[in-house]
Amino acid sequence: MRSQESRSTSSCAACKLLKRRCTPNCIFAPHFRSDEPKKFAKVHKVFGASNVSKILIEVPEEQREDTVNSLAYEAEARLRDPVYGCIGDIALLQRKMIQLQHDLALARARLSLYAATDSAGISNTDSDQFCTAALGEFPVACGGGFMDSFSQTSYEVNQDTHMYDFSQIPYI
């Protein structure tokens, strides 16, 4: 008869999935609690338990929670979008950033225009020259670059789901 001692009642999610005994110094146990089985399942599917273990061993203990959360995020993104993973999210953010930079440059030029006309009246000729000079400072409108290569609509789906909430990770 199997001894009760060989079956841990407090196995972490990793050891439960891997069907092994969860030891007191199990590297997964602090970060993959038994009430979050899906978290480890996703990470395991994408990276594999062995690779995750190696990554965790390499980082200081106080940074392992952040490491696990970022791995979980990447794994989830990869399962949701097997082609691009969270690169799709990055490309979306890059595109948004480029657009914002463009809008900001526009707004600043417009503000300069108002400031210039407010301080002293300018002729139509001056206005043309000023506008041309101001537009010359804009970043050229982008077609998307890397984003264009993502013909998949995965990142469009991602627009409806906000970035994973890393409440534990400091927002630098």
């Binding site: 990447e74 950033m97 407010d118 670059g145 290569s149």
Partner: protein, 149 residues
Amino acid sequence: MSSGRCAACRYLRRRCTEDCILSPYFPSNNPQRFVSVHRIYGASNVTKLLLQLPTHLRAEAADSLYFEAQCRLEDPVYGCVGLIFMLQQQIHAAESQLVKTQAEIAVMKSQGQNPEAQQAEQDFNNLLLQQSDNDAALSFPNQVSSGFI
């Protein structure tokens, strides 16, 4: 036998068959590419992932896996999620700046209604329209294989 092996099979010390799924994406002239991906994902996981994709999407998938693997090797704690955080922060700062600038414009607009300002803005808008027409004809090269950051 060994001369025709892809980087993956060379690293794994196995025979590289004609239908090796990894060989198109891990050529022998770039061994580091497979080493990086293997260290983070493992050959088995990469193979499974590529197998589930249609052939025309596998190159992009391999590229994105390589990029993520490189990010993780450089930053074992955050990987490419660190990039996401950085971009989010930059976007937040740019949005705040934009709101502030637009508020300043609104103030200046409400203060000064002189004809020169209105004419200048109209000229400005016309020039913008012209530029956006020109920009519509621009196309950017595909930057997937060379990275995009």
